[in-house]
């Protein structure tokens, strides 16, 4: 019953997403436009430790944009928790036999599917940024993208669950998630940053996600996988597990 209920809730998330055309366009087009304009604008202007010599910013910025798409899609898919509560749909789920655990796993599966799908579509643009992932790298990319998507959806769920205002949720996103992304290495490498920024980046789990994405994308066919990959994977997986457990604890509490 639990699996059937979770599957149904996940399917609902996807159906709703596809029926809201503006949401599809907004989630995909905004980060890609951001990447194209900022990447082309900065171009080859930056020379900093950690950048390959005169690296095109379009290339540097690409893994960060993949991360941003996962972040945006996963987090914003959980706004529906607040909307569902406000519109009354959530209470109908909560009175079902496995409603509380099903709503969590349904949202996690739904948010993850949407984020993975959009991230993979953008990964297909990789050759335009001088990245050429082969099938082996694509498999690892799919894995890290999936784990990141589960973790970020769980983080969004954790924040959205006790909230009753979508405006409040958006404010929190701007305050918390955008800096989290800034400090992941998506916009600049840690090497040339101030010491305190480097410390923050070291403690930001998203940095390890970005590191894994950037390392995998830079792996040319026939080259060995990045040496840091298992370390990055471990940290991202552990953080995701903690977040999912925190969500499970939160939904099990009845007010």
């Amino acid at each position: 019953m639990f699996m059937q209920a979770s599957y149904s809730l996940a399917l609902r998330e996807v159906t709703r997403f596809l029926r809201q055309k503006n949401r599809v366009i907004g989630a995909m087009a905004t980060p890609v436009l951001f990447w194209f304009l900022l990447g082309s604008g900065v171009g080859r202007s930056l020379v900093a430790p950690g950048f390959r010599e005169r690296t095109d910013y379009l290339t540097y910025f690409f893994p960060g944009i993949v991360l941003l798409i996962i972040l945006f899609t996963a987090i914003f898919s959980t706004v529906s928790v607040i909307e569902d509560r406000r519109e009354g749909f959530l209470q109908g789920v909560l009175v079902a036999p496995d409603g509380r655990s099903a709503i969590l796993f349904g949202k996690l599966i739904g948010g993850t599917l949407l984020a993975v799908f959009q991230a993979i579509v953008v990964v297909l643009l990789a050759p335009y940024s001088d990245y050429h992932p082969d099938a082996r790298v694509l498999f690892y990319l799919l894995a890290i993208i999936s784990v990141l998507a589960v973790g970020l959806t769980a983080l969004g769920f954790l924040i959205a669950w006790p909230m009753d205002s979508t405006q409040g949720f958006h404010a929190l996103i701007n305050l918390f998630f955008v800096p989290l992304w800034f400090l992941s290495g998506a916009l600049f490498p840690p090497a040339g940053s101030a010491e305190w920024i480097r410390v923050l980046m070291r403690f930001n789990p998203l940095s390890y996600g970005h590191d894994a994405l950037a390392g995998l994308l830079a792996t040319r066919p026939g080259m060995p996988l990045p040496v840091d990959l298992s370390h990055d994977f471990s940290i991202v997986c552990a953080t995701t597990l903690l977040l999912v457990m925190a969500c499970a604890l939160q939904v099990s509490r009845r007010s």
């Binding site: 149904s8 809730l9 609902r12 159906t15 519109e87 009354g88 109908g92 009175v95 009845r254």
Partner: protein, 316 residues
Amino acid sequence: MGDSFYAVAAEGVGYSYGRKRVLDNIDLRLEEGGMFCVLGPNGSGKTTLFKLISTIFALQDGEISVGGRSLRQFPTPVRKKIGVLFQNPAVDMKLTVRENLRHHGNLYGLDPHDLETRINKNLEALGVENRGGELVESLSGGLRRRVEIAKVLLTRPSILLMDEPTTGLDPAIRSELWSIISGIRNTRKLSVLFTTHLLEEAEPADEILLLDQGHPVAAGKVSELRSSLGKEYVRLGTYSPKKLAGRIRKEGEIEVTVEPASVKVVPTRGQAAPLAIRLWREYSSEVTSVTLCRPTLEDLFLQKTGRLWSSTPGEI
């Protein structure tokens, strides 16, 4: 509690939001196949009580059993027995009617083939079989309510819980909704517990619990509660109730109460009908209407609380 023969039984139920006590010492018994109404003005705590019975809120004080099973110990089996109709429709506006029903069946783990048969049956029973492919957001309020009833009954609950089911519906659709509920009760043994702030909606219930500011003020069968209030009375419509009441009081052998746009006159001796005719004749220049009344639930509320039904605070 020994409530195995009651569909719903509550004993000593209390609830607080932080330090604010919103429900205190609530008892109720809904017999199997019966219809029970929790009646109260806005702010009386009926929605809180509903959320406790429907398992959304965790019990704080007291005990509730549903179908003989303790809600505190067995919330999951209880959820399988109940169908819940909320004040705000718990349907997804972006899904079609059929998708909403399918989703609900999946939430309860119904077999997919059986589910499709049930969906077809329920859509037909509720007269929305031709709307299955339409998005719920495109339907009128009345049709949405029908869809929701079709959805709730998919799992064949033995107890139907409804929280202010007619809120936001116009009078014609309200009446239609109650006809549908009555029709369902005639075809299957369904126990119904509902909340309302509309006095007239409580009348068909077998029993009522009247709440005020989180406290029970009266409970029992509607007819018995009414007869406990005494005899028929006369209500005189007027633009100056205080002035008219002052003049009528001088007549003696009557009780006079001033209301916002009327005066209530209860004969202490004799019948209300001749009194109505006499008052109409004597005060025709000041009286806009004369109504011969039986005691109502509104009178019961006034008697128990000393306040008019319409002068109550906001919803909890």
